[in-house]
């Protein structure tokens, strides 16, 4: 797992994808930070962090599109799956590498907190809650992206499908309180799977165990699906 993590993490920065991800992410986020916090002299990071929810939809597929697709295409999966390691280690190594780059972006975002701290007083609990929420949400998106990448050997298809799925989730999220005519059970399902809903609860300071378990198990579920796909490929 360690070897794969190291290789994939480095590959993000030899192939430019890592720089593009960080560049796009930080550029857009800094625009929102400048507008929302500096121009408005606001010390709360909640606004800029909730924007990040939306930016993630565009940037995370950049991180995950290559994960397995590129290995299938270059046939390097033959090396990974004939090496004396278990397939789940391969999945975890790839997931963690993408997650680490994502976390790097969040570390860079600490600069905002620093700037706010110089000119005002950031709310420590609010910052911590937002960071926790973003890490959990990112984990879910990245695991979905890695899973989708294991379905194809074409990076572009992996990226576009990930956009599609992320947008679908986003739209379902918006639908949950859109129509009063909707049957109650659909609404409750939508509430249950609502990523933004659970994200907002955490950032509001209500760190409930069920939300954390939801995010962690959703991430685990898609990594498990990814593992199943690999096993099916082996038996195909």
């Amino acid at each position: 797992m360690g070897a794969i993590f190291k290789r994939d993490f480095r590959a993000f920065f030899t192939s430019m994808t890592g720089f593009v991800f960080l560049g796009v992410f930080l550029l857009i986020m800094n625009i929102f930070f400048s507008l929302g916090n500096i121009m408005d002299s606001r010390s709360s990071v909640a606004g800029v962090f909730s924007t990040m929810m939306f930016i993630n939809l565009f940037t995370i597929p950049l991180l995950t599109m290559r994960s397995f697709a590129e290995d299938f295409k270059q046939k390097t999966d033959q090396l990974l799956f004939t090496a004396p390691i278990r397939p789940i280690s391969v999945v975890l190594g790839k997931f963690l590498a993408a997650f680490a780059v994502y976390a790097l972006a969040l570390v860079a975002a600490l600069l905002w907190v620093l700037i706010i701290a110089v000119y005002g007083a950031p709310n420590g609990a609010e910052v911590a809650g937002n960071y926790l929420a973003m890490l959990l949400v990112g984990g879910v998106y990245i695991s979905i992206g890695v899973f989708i990448s294991s379905l194809t050997e074409n990076q572009l298809i992996a990226a576009v499908s990930s956009y599609g799925v992320f947008f679908l989730l986003y739209i379902l999220d918006m639908l949950k309180n859109g129509f009063s005519s909707m049957p109650a059970w659909i609404t409750s399902v939508l509430y249950f799977i609502s990523i933004t809903g659970r994200h907002d609860t955490i950032t509001a300071g209500l760190i409930a165990l069920d939300d954390i378990i939801f995010f962690l198990s959703a991430a685990a579920l898609f990594l498990f699906f990814c593992h199943r796909i690999l096993e099916r490929k082996r038996r195909a």
Binding site: A11, T14, Q74, T76, T82, R86, R235, A236
Partner: protein
């Protein structure tokens, strides 16, 4: 070292390989020979644990690949048909990565990687990007990768495909050297390769093993008795009856006239008889000079074609 029992791998309804069984002993160099699409790669992918078989079992160095894949894989070095290289890495970085991936700890990193580079003869490209290497070097880096961790079994899928003649010679030499200390199984559709490198051949056709033996055995099994082509300057019928009257000659027949005032004969001798000297003396005594005498050998090509084409004839 490798024990394959009743192995079948189906893709959907298509069969990759059907019910193949064989064993490869320690230190053997075995060639897996077959036309393209015969199932060589499929069989190798199953043996190395990349694909799961539909049925049957694979043991490598006594370890069951299905039940205990991690330790079974530790004994195998695999060079797939397309070397599994990350093109964005340098050779040294790549080998470092594979060293970690295979979890080699018992061999000191620097020394072991140096050794492997020397065996595959890639010391002078270690700081180059894999993307920029020629096909020959990529193949050799792929081989170096397979050698990392010092596995006792090497599985090489078409190790010389796409190389130029000089590189092919080099690669064959490397494989022969490796065969001294490893069990090697290589696939190829090139017959000379088998005679040049392998001690034993498994011929595979349409997913089945159709022959198993040494290259010489296979050629011999077809040749049966020795045959000679003799060109004699002399009257055809008289020469023919003289040839037939010699001891050890089982059969003789005229096969045409190539040079003027001469005739070619195909002479079949009894097993373990060398009729060349008696033929020479008799023909010389009769005053009919031999213009040409050559053994009619059956090449591996003939064997191969007859083995792999049987199906179509039926």
């Amino acid at each position: 070292m490798i024990e394959v029992t009743e192995l079948t791998k189906r893709y959907g309804k298509q069969r990759g390989v059907t019910d193949i069984s064989f064993t490869v002993g320690e230190g053997e160099i075995v060639g897996f020979l077959g036309p393209n699409g015969a199932g060589k790669t499929t069989a190798m992918n199953v043996i190395t644990g990349y694909l799961a078989p539909t049925s049957g079992s694979v043991y490598v160095a006594g370890v069951n690949m299905l039940e205990n894949p991690v330790s079974a894989k530790r004994n195998i070095g695999y060079l797939p048909e397309q070397p599994p290289l990350y093109h964005d890495m340098k050779v040294a970085e790549y080998l470092d990565f594979v060293y970690d991936l295979k979890g080699v700890t018992e061999l000191p990193r620097r020394r072991h990687i140096d050794d492997v580079c020397e065996m595959a003869d890639i010391q002078d490209v270690r700081h180059r990007l894999l993307r920029n290497l020629s096909k020959g070097y990529r193949q050799r880096v792929g081989l170096a990768q397979a050698l990392l961790g010092d596995p006792c079994v090497l599985i090489l899928d078409e190790p010389t495909s796409g190389l130029d003649p000089k590189q092919i010679m080099d690669m064959r030499k490397v494989i022969k050297d490796l065969g001294q200390s490893h069990t090697v199984m290589l696939s190829t559709h090139i017959l000379q390769e088998v005679s040049a490198v392998c001690e034993r051949v498994l011929v595979i056709s349409e997913g089945k093993i159709v022959a198993d033996g040494s290259p010489a055995d296979l050629a011999g099994s077809m040749a049966g008795e020795r045959k000679l082509v003799v060109r004699v300057a002399g009257p055809r019928d008289n020469v023919l009856s003289l040839l037939k009257s010699r001891d050890g000659v089982k059969k003789a027949e005229p096969i045409g006239e190539v040079e003027e005032r001469s005739c070619d004969f195909l002479v079949e001798s009894l097993p373990n008889m060398d009729v060349r000297k008696p033929l020479f003396s008799a023909l010389a005594a009769a005053g009919w000079p031999i213009l040409m005498l050559r053994p009619e050998t059956v090449s591996l090509e003939d064997v191969f074609i007859s083995l792999t084409e049987k199906k179509e004839v039926q």
